[in-house]
């Protein structure tokens, strides 16, 4: 646990010195969300219908933006190799880095989403479910995304390739995340979808750091 915190703290400190990168992803989220009404039309009833989906897709894309950076700078200055060789379990260090990524890229989305949800005329109940769903789902996005980031580390065209690899894997999270809010809208209760999101999170927490570490070792050797 201590190892995870060590890596977490380090990444947060590093990010604090490069605040603009974090903020850019947030701005991206806001801008993308605003594009949809501009493209489709501002009719309130329709916005209510597409709102959850739009917010979720924008969250996916915003998360993707931050992923290439997850391992790239550490790889560039040799820190990643040091981590791999260190006596501390590499997988735990990686888990710490992924946690930092979520705190920097995922959690802000969770906090910002209700505000944007208002733009889509979602009611308080729906906004609440949206936040909860994003709270469960964005860590999954960071965890699965980390696998992609590790696989494409140092590969040319990495960012786009990363998106191609990771977006299909994001589909279940998207379906249940948006589905939770839609269920709330329909008055059906979102507990089923939220439970499944929780299950996906548990699966991701167990398997993703391990897969990411394996992929990193392959990339570093």
């Amino acid at each position: 646990m201590n190892t995870i915190l060590v890596a977490l703290r380090r990444d947060l400190l590093l990010a604090a010195r490069r605040r603009s990168e974090v903020v850019t992803a947030l701005f991206f989220f806001v801008v993308v969300v605003s594009l949809f009404p501009l493209g489709i039309g501002p009719e309130p009833a329709m916005l209510r219908r597409i709102g959850p989906g739009v917010l979720w897709v924008a969250a996916l894309l915003a998360t993707l933006l931050g992923l290439p950076r997850l391992f790239a700078s550490d790889h560039a200055d040799g820190t990643l190799e040091q981590m791999a060789l260190s006596p501390r379990p590499f997988a735990l260090l990686v888990a710490g880095k992924i946690a930092a990524h979520w705190l920097l890229c995922g959690l802000p989305l969770v906090l910002l989403a209700p505000l944007l949800g208002l733009q889509f005329n979602l009611n308080p109940g729906e906004l609440q479910v949206l936040m909860l769903a994003l709270l469960l789902g964005t860590p999954v996005l960071s965890l699965i995304g980390a696998i992609g980031a590790a696989l494409t580390l140092g590969v040319r065209g990495g960012g786009t390739l990363l998106a191609l690899l990771v977006l299909p894997l994001y589909v279940p999270t998207l379906i249940f995340g948006a589905g939770a809010v839609e269920a709330q809208s329909a008055g059906l209760g979102s507990s089923a979808q939220l439970s499944i999101l929780g299950a996906l999170l548990a699966l991701a927490v167990f398997f993703a750091p391990w897969a990411t570490t394996a992929a990193l070792r392959i990339a570093i050797e």
């Binding site: 590969v155 589905g179 839609e182 996906l200 897969a211």
Partner: protein, 250 residues
């Protein structure tokens, strides 16, 4: 360098040098089987299977659509299997096999989508139906593209093998989850589901036709994979001594 090992004699073929000629000998047999099964399948499909009550002659597309779907999934599993073996045991040939299977699998996924579209248009009026199977097939196609793109982007063959393997294994674990989520999504949004798989009363002959065509596609896939892996072996082992002899005799 032939090592005497007390393990199974089949282990001999784990080396590209010995597998290359074996694959060359096997390949025509599988191609031949594929041809025969295709003829049999097409015969049943066009001349034995009756006209469908609701869909008329249009339903005959299932004789290629369903086999293509099945093969796209079978090949993905085979690909992940061989990639996993290559990753676990560090055997080059297994990884080469995975890479050899991928393009064929992707083609079948694409054919499944195309034939699915051609089936859907006359039946349900639209070129694309977001039903659970077609949508899952689309995502499977994307998974294939990801694997192919990743391997193409990495120059070092060893890294490409192993990264591809991790991706394929992550993918194969996710496919059931993706399928389940898409199925759920589909039932939620469509109520009375238009299902491409709904064939309430499938005549035995129709099933036979599908089965024969599926086997035909399977034999074809093996034949093509053997041919492709031979090319991969030549490319990657080009500096080995045995390749010289193989090339001269080719």
């Amino acid at each position: 360098m032939m090592e005497k090992t007390s393990a199974s004699p089949w282990m001999r073929y784990a080396s590209p040098a010995t597998f290359y000629p074996l694959a060359g000998k096997l390949q025509p047999w599988f191609a031949g089987l594929a041809a025969l099964l295709t003829i049999a399948g097409l015969w049943i499909g066009f001349f034995v299977a009756p006209t469908d009550a609701t869909q008329g002659e249009g339903y005959r597309i299932i004789f290629v659509h369903v086999p293509a779907s099945w093969m796209s999934m079978v090949i993905y599993c085979a690909m992940a299997f061989w990639a996993g073996i290559g990753l676990a045991f560090n055997t080059r040939l297994s990884s080469m096999m995975a890479s050899a299977l991928a393009p064929t699998g992707a083609i079948f996924a694409l054919l499944s989508l195309v034939t699915g579209s051609l089936w859907g248009k006359p039946m349900w009026g639209t070129w694309w139906v977001w039903d659970a199977r077609l949508t899952s097939e689309l995502i499977l196609f994307f998974l294939y593209l990801g694997f192919l793109a990743l391997q193409a982007a990495i120059e070092d063959p060893k890294r490409a093998d192993r990264a591809g393997a991790v991706l394929a294994l992550v993918g194969v674990v996710n496919v059931p989850i993706i399928y389940f989520s898409v199925k759920w999504w589909n039932t939620l949004h469509q109520g009375a589901t238009i299902s491409m798989t709904k064939s309430p009363s499938m005549a035995m002959t129709m099933l036979w036709g599908m089965l024969l065509m599926a086997l035909a596609f399977w034999m074809y896939s093996i034949a093509v994979a053997l041919a492709r892996v031979r090319n991969i072996i030549l490319e990657r082992e080009r500096h080995a001594d045995w390749v010289r002899g193989a090339v001269e005799n080719a």
